[in-house]
Symmetry: D2
Subunit: 362 residues, 4 copies
């Protein structure tokens, strides 16, 4: 299989390059009868759009989604939903210098080695612009999840070494706090310090890494297909498929390496006639199957590789060492814009497994 599709029953295929004519996504497998409008998609794309804050680049992307198929009289028909976003404001000339000079930390060199040629303008296919299609499909997934009482929320929990404190609150309140600052960090004090730090590194022509946490609430028990398509395995793939993500954690995550079994295990107990758990080190998943507890994922996002500082590279045409300074408007940190994208990917995985779950019994 070629690699631009994801999901099995709720299946998306993204297409498009940063400086090509458009980017888009085809979503096949959304059940019929779901109410869906362009506004449902647009509001998620607007969250992804850059130029909203000091944390993100100022390139103006209109990003108006057009739904081209699959909807009739306001409802999904069960046929493929094709969504398209035209590319605008693409100043390709500024990328000419990059044709032969792969940017450190970017996909340039790897694409060149794989395909023998590449669209070097704005990173081509490897550009973060590809995620617009993911977010559009994720908006449909969220609509589907909402129908089944499932909600997903992501937020920045670390930036430039500054960690936020996250109290357990309801997701609506959490979301409100998250959207209250441009860092998308629910802890206002931490957000303030992160912004200061960001301003500093931007002036130095450098960038910062961070952590994003994603929570899904209301997920019924039973989602996930042993033994390879475990829910955590599919989440790991979905999240690691995002550029800049270098680690994925579920529940206790990397912390489990230092724990004992008696600490790590979440004991079961009856809670008002229903089965519950004392704690959630499992992150809502046991044996690859959801337990009904919150699904909790965390991802490590590397610092933006496009930095203004002078860096070593090579010249592919000349076969010589070279230097590179990356001009232009680039986010000095990726995590704030990663928030809606990570939510989208988690929503897509959950929508897929909600449908797959229908097959497990007679």
């Amino acid at each position: 299989m070629p690699g631009s599709s994801f999901g099995t029953l709720f299946r998306i295929t993204t297409w498009g390059e940063s400086h090509g004519r458009a980017v888009g996504v085809v979503l096949d497998g959304c059940p019929a009868e779901l109410a869906l409008t362009e506004y449902d998609i647009q509001k998620e794309l607007d969250r992804r759009r850059p130029g909203q804050s000091r944390a993100s680049t100022q390139r103006t992307e209109a990003d108006r989604v057009e739904i081209l198929s699959g909807i009739f009289e306001g409802k999904t028909t069960g046929t493929p939903i094709s969504m398209l976003i035209w590319n605008r404001d693409a100043d390709s000339a500024s990328y000419d210098l990059l044709r032969n000079r792969p940017r450190p930390g970017h996909a340039d060199y790897a694409y060149q080695m794989k395909y023998g040629l590449r669209d070097h303008r704005g990173g081509g296919r490897s550009s973060a612009r590809e995620t617009a299609g993911r977010v559009a499909a994720g908006a449909v997934a969220k609509k589907l999840l909402q129908h089944f009482g499932v909600e997903v929320a992501a937020f920045v929990t670390e930036l430039g070494g500054i960690k936020s404190r996250t109290d357990s609150v309801d997701l609506a309140e959490l979301r409100a706090r998250v959207e209250a600052n441009p860092i998308r960090c629910p802890d206002p004090n931490a957000a303030m310090r992160m912004m200061e730090q960001l301003d500093l590194v931007r002036q130095e022509g450098d960038s910062l890494g961070g952590m994003v946490t994603i929570i899904a609430r209301g997920v019924p028990p039973g989602l996930g297909d042993p033994v390879f398509d475990k829910l955590d395995a599919d989440l790991a793939k979905a999240l690691m498929s995002l550029g800049a993500v270098k680690a994925v954690e579920i529940g206790a995550g990397i912390g489990c390496a230092g724990m004992r079994g008696s600490e790590m295990n979440d004991p079961l107990r009856m809670e008002g006639g229903k089965i519950g758990f004392e704690g959630n080190n499992a992150g809502g998943i046991l044996g690859g199957i959801s337990t009904g507890m919150d699904i909790v994922c965390r991802i490590a996002v590397k610092p933006t590789p496009s930095i203004a500082k002078k860096q070593h590279t090579v010249d592919l045409a000349a076969g010589m060492d070279a230097e590179i300074e990356i001009k232009g408007r680039h986010d000095p940190a990726i995590p704030p814009r990663m928030v809606p994208v990570a939510e989208a990917m988690v929503a897509i995985v959950l929508a897929d497994h909600l449908l797959r779950q229908r097959m497990s019994r007679l």
Copy 2:
């Protein structure tokens, strides 16, 4: 798709329960003409077998693999390779108490909720015994990789909070050091302290978590299919699909959250007429495509959930709180036995992408 298959071109399907008649794997997509014997498989299965050390359970599993198809006169024929391992020494009666009492930290409750019934004996399908099939298929993958000059090695780098020091050495020497102690830690001093720690927690009826590192060397540039089947995304899925793994890191991993772009980026440079990198924070993967540098993954492995200590649980039949003490011989730490299994999964992903890579150009 049901969930017991993995890979696209080099594709495995495992089957079998812990206390069923047998476990096995069907590998479809191995190219014809590869020399392969049962010994190639058996030697990897022997590394996985428990009862080798203080770190692992003493249950005697003969684990003799039988190749039932796909080989003719010592070579693969391009047709499916079916491999089977009979189950023996299965004392199912001791599991009777577990039928209605889900073990904390195990898949028991989740399977019950998903399927409405389950084979509770020894964890059934969710047992680590399922990985025998993965290791068998991984042995074929390793043979294929070897043909193309690629080798894979895993080892324990942390156990019970004790970290090992790993000098960069050639993989043959590393492997020798790894197999020199039952912890499979290449640092003999650390291994010694880990063993002491293990003896301690075993006496307390408890268990330890740890970290395993996997390195692949000789991987040509160009492996990985953007944008979803990135090499790191497929590795993340493969490794997270192993029971007990709660985090997957690539290259700098979670550490990248605290780094700056100027630290994280690996500059390119000419090295004797060829293109190389100064550093490998990328872990050998950029934009989801291999760069030719070492592929470096790390996984966090939770402490063995089967502990002798008394734990809270519920009784599914009675709908009441209950207690559970898990008898029997269980590894007090999983990482040493995870080593050959993690190697197998990485080898399978690489074999798959080596074949997929053949499609990228005319």
Copy 3:
């Protein structure tokens, strides 16, 4: 994807060569809670077994199926069902002459060109023995269909140019008639003449082709996934994937080429408050989706290619023209044994789409 798997949600993977150690199948995706025993499988395998009649070879194949996984206390568990049949009575030496002389009408030459090597004994992977795995999986599919009120029946409708008359009867009676003679033709007079014809060609060292019809009754409307995984498209693939099948027809089939729209269209009408059709030229499928009418397929089965008559071929080693006379016990006609195999394939397609259908609405 390698080619030994079929189906999407109800997914089978067959493995094994004619003269290898065993043949088998792994079925993944059968829902939990289905009552299933080895007898359910065995009775279908017994129908497939040769040596039952003048129409089939006398090689004694015990064909005892062993279910190795996926069943617990008499019910499916939702995990993969692995089924195995050991090979016996394999006289490989008699095939030595065929190593370098591809048999006309067989896969020998094509396999050699594809893989560079092949297991030539008994046709290796291309042997009809592979269909034992299909029949085993088909038996599970039939059990599942039965649960939903769907039944499948196949029968021979033409052999050596002799056509049977098939009155519309209930499927139970039809099945009884079919099993009443070794030709598996529900028309006793035609069956008699077919047998005489068969005896004749056998004496001449030759073979006969024929037609098999497959009917599925009780199929609910709505099965089939536009636009590529249409129910008829998947049936066509399933049936054409059987060796010796050279044509697949649905409903009016090839006859539609000579019809007018006013003849071909099946008008709709109310029948006791429900919607029905006047006629079934559509064969129960419109736009690739089942209508609730009988699914009707027909396949053309070529004459057995293994004939005793002297034939031209080439010697692969010598690169010269050569001759071949195929010894041994071979069916002089394939259709009677095709009956249970074709039923199995249709049952598998329907089981798959019964599950897929669960996804089409909210």
Copy 4:
């Protein structure tokens, strides 16, 4: 998997409804470095366009393809190729009567039963307009095949009971003859009589069925993946997935039912140092694998279901019997327009298996 995708390595996903905003296709898996322009696509779409002849509807479809991604400086980049065709000239109001009256021989009733709602305008997703995406992707497949010396040609061999005589000629000449008349029949005398017949049934408000033959020449031996993804099985699925196709034949096809083994088998022989076959009853495929001989397929195409004659149907809203007369401009026969579409599907299957073939050996 939802059903709007086809192919494994060369994989297409079509989307769009007849009276929606656009139709299109995403092709993922085309290797990099293939020269490709919009003109390559447009010339195939122009062959598909209606309004070219008395045999086809006069609706004016501009059908200008736009390539939105995957091409850089005139060459494929290995990334998804998204192609879009805007819908125009869609007079939806004329379909209002059809909302509750399913047209006999159409998908209307089946879609309604499957999804609970449907876009009834112009057949919605089940419209032949969907095949524009197939033809666009098929044009890329043809370009790829051409690179490897493979060509595909289709033509009408029967219409309204009139059969054409087809001499074996080179494909370029055949194609010239085919495009010389609006029936796309290479036999000018037969074409003349077919046209007369067509005029007649059109006046009667009726329609005709026919047969289309597809030949692929230059196909190397070794294409096709046993045992389910046989080349003939994939061709059967591809062709049966076209609306109106009710039968698929390979080589001798349905005629094999009346043949003897000694007639059917194609003996092998040496031809100037190379291996060849005496005859091609196999249609270029043995054991599901190409032999190097011409691939020969035939499809039976039912008469256009949209006829002006009064037909019985039901009213879905009223639950009563009803009548229907289908107005508008409809082709009185589908085969002429099926020619480029059938070519496209065969080209896509061959392109897919050309890539898959790269995996069969070390």
